[in-house]
Symmetry: C2
Subunit: 499 residues, 2 copies
Amino acid sequence: MAAPKTAIQPTRNEDYPQWYQEVIKAADLAETSPVRGCMVIKPWGYALWENIQHNLDARFKATGHKNAYFPLFIPLSYLQREADHVEGFAKECAVVTHHRLEPDADGKLQPAGKLEEPLIVRPTSETIIGEMFSRWIESYRDLPLLINQWANVVRWEMRTRMFLRTAEFLWQEGHTAHATEQEAVEETLQMLDIYKDFAENTMAMPVITGAKSEGERFPGAVDTYSIEAMMQDGKALQSGTSHFLGQNFSKAQDISFQNDKKEVEFAWTTSWGVSTRLIGSLIMTHADDDGMVIPPRLAPSHIVIIPITFKADDPDAILNYCHKLAADLGVINYHGRSITVEIDNRDIRGGEKTWGWVKKGIPIRLEVGPRDMASDSVFMARRDKGHKEKQGVDRAEFIQSVTVILDDMQQGLFDRALARREEATKTIDSKEDFYNHFEGEGTGFVYAHFCGDPALEDEIKTDLKVTLRCIPLVGHDEEGTCIFSGKPSKQRVLWAKSY
Amino acid sequence: MAAPKTAIQPTRNEDYPQWYQEVIKAADLAETSPVRGCMVIKPWGYALWENIQHNLDARFKATGHKNAYFPLFIPLSYLQREADHVEGFAKECAVVTHHRLEPDADGKLQPAGKLEEPLIVRPTSETIIGEMFSRWIESYRDLPLLINQWANVVRWEMRTRMFLRTAEFLWQEGHTAHATEQEAVEETLQMLDIYKDFAENTMAMPVITGAKSEGERFPGAVDTYSIEAMMQDGKALQSGTSHFLGQNFSKAQDISFQNDKKEVEFAWTTSWGVSTRLIGSLIMTHADDDGMVIPPRLAPSHIVIIPITFKADDPDAILNYCHKLAADLGVINYHGRSITVEIDNRDIRGGEKTWGWVKKGIPIRLEVGPRDMASDSVFMARRDKGHKEKQGVDRAEFIQSVTVILDDMQQGLFDRALARREEATKTIDSKEDFYNHFEGEGTGFVYAHFCGDPALEDEIKTDLKVTLRCIPLVGHDEEGTCIFSGKPSKQRVLWAKSY
């Protein structure tokens, strides 16, 4: 049997959605579970999430936020307090109605102990956290209140896809309350900036920041901002959101405070979140037809060392050499973490082993055989290069340059993703061109003038499955004429098909 | 109004259960939520949990375990696969029966979209993780499989108490599968040892390790081991458990593998966990009548610096001095973390501020006023000493000795807890003495010979509310005669009233 040309079948070009599923499987990141719409996050995928958590958590703490934990369940009456909010989540939520199981006449266990009030498994925690904020906040001295929660949430989506859209997912949700509108808006934008910086500098994923149109806002928000990334199929993926909630939730939940003039005011609140969806965007930004590609700053392990012992007179000497090398690398700090090294001495075929690590996307693969050891060198392959581009490197030199190599990969991955996005981004100045561009399989990012009419936005969505991704915060701000209505437009906005 | 003698009212002697609630409130660790039996873990309490997590997580990883994440929901049919297991959890579980909300005729939202099969919010994950293990394990080469999960779980307890017993709680659950019985037993005991080491060296809480009697075992386990700590009221608190599950779950869930002789065998499995209950045991081990006392190795912050500026000519100079001191302390490593310092410059009364930190249990409080700054020194108070025992210390000397001071506190807290336990531990050799000891308000640990008869164990529980806490693994192993039945006893076992 001839070896397949690529490790992942089908390739991106052949069948992009299937390729995505196959990468997840080949890299052992996650798999579907017996529970409808819920996935199991496997160790290699969960380690990505842990690294995302550690990195973001440090950024949240450095900006004065503190972690806390609130109940999984939300009483139905709480969800109803903000009208748009309940409307947004009622159609897809898990409802707890009973608190025990009892055998029926046939001995089959049935729900029993009906609750007086149904409980909703949190789809997000504005209402329950708002209730606690209303108890905690009395005076302007209690503000700002800056809280974050790492938690699981449930949204009963009918069509699910691993990492991108699952019934249960893991996320962080920040919730803050402020004395003034300006401070709350600044917080909203600060967190958007943190998400952008994290996406670009840690995930090596370029993003566009902007405001959502009315129809795409979070239920109950005054303004929703997002970071939008382009996947390799030219579709947009919303990868993080930050909401300015105005006084909508504080009025609905009586989050009020006495100002320094002893007058009672409602607080201004925000919320912001990213989820395990980021792992979906990471895959679709960097993975290739040989599997996962992980930017070094998020890699669960940076380097795998494969001892090549089958021709060796003294296999133990090679193994010792590898362990010594791993120990030397392990004391090197790389962006706040030690360099993490795996030694893969499993008793399986060399090709299977090598391809296993390629598919997992480990940044650097080292092979050490008798001749390498004799010349005090290693054979190195970088995951961002072709898999045949191996090179012999002096051991000491490799140790000395490893952080430079990793940073070079990190930057290279960002540059590649940015070039791909720029390549697939257009400015379009007529409705006809716009429709021609997106009709059928057309994708990519398009900047076009728009008057802001929600009815037009709906029409475009129905016609082309294209949505207004965001009103960019930076650039594209020259005034013009809406290409759909001919009315005045304040700036070009970003359009794309999306996940 | 005269100042109260202690910051916490009532004191431990006056009303121990109420004292516990008041400490939690005064230290701002947690509070009850509007959701029955669920608590909100506030930032100071959650930071304790984060430190517990970081410390244990490193220990789990160092012993080869990897983190993963499994679904929140368990299909009812899965829970039923192991008979004892479902029996153990059916009476207190949250049941999801619907997946959306719809308005009824009156416009009131009601559960809708009934699920074909009810889902149980996980009370523990043996069954769902077992299902995945049965898919992942094919050959002896896949073993051992060493997985841990950090997650929330729900047990619908009717009588709840913050941290000790809540409907929802946070925990970790380790789940492992092994090729041999011996290896699984060794894993069970290894994890028990890790819990003991963590309890004693990180939490400064002495514990007894041992096996549970049949009636106290985890539903479905062959053997359950626990760490048992003594609280200040002389009652035992089970603070962590490690279960040898034999082949009960692997047979119920078909977790089988091909051994190196190509024969199919069932795997041997274990599970082990600790939860936010540890924070309850931490409070009841160390807190006093002035509030929380936190062992330095778990403290969210080690030191608070309080600038005393009200009499100062140049308040900014004092504040700068404090910031410089905080920066100097912040670069010192203490057991894997940097020394964490708070500067409390809030505009509130000095007494209120000082007592706030005493009640929160921060290990070291420093005060810096004009005279201290002039003499380049600080006023130091240790939380483990009387709150009037402040002393002036040279600044440089303090910086140099801070880790020694913290370690001295850590050891002191352990020694105090151990002495308290030894003081309240007895060996009893007759049924009459045993009953006299425990009747009414009698507490403490008692070692007594026991034949192992479950009926007798039940009788003792009914008569005295005393349970067999564990059959100790170390010491107490001389043979003798059961003080209740006169039958032979292999060793003395540990009895106590408990939480």
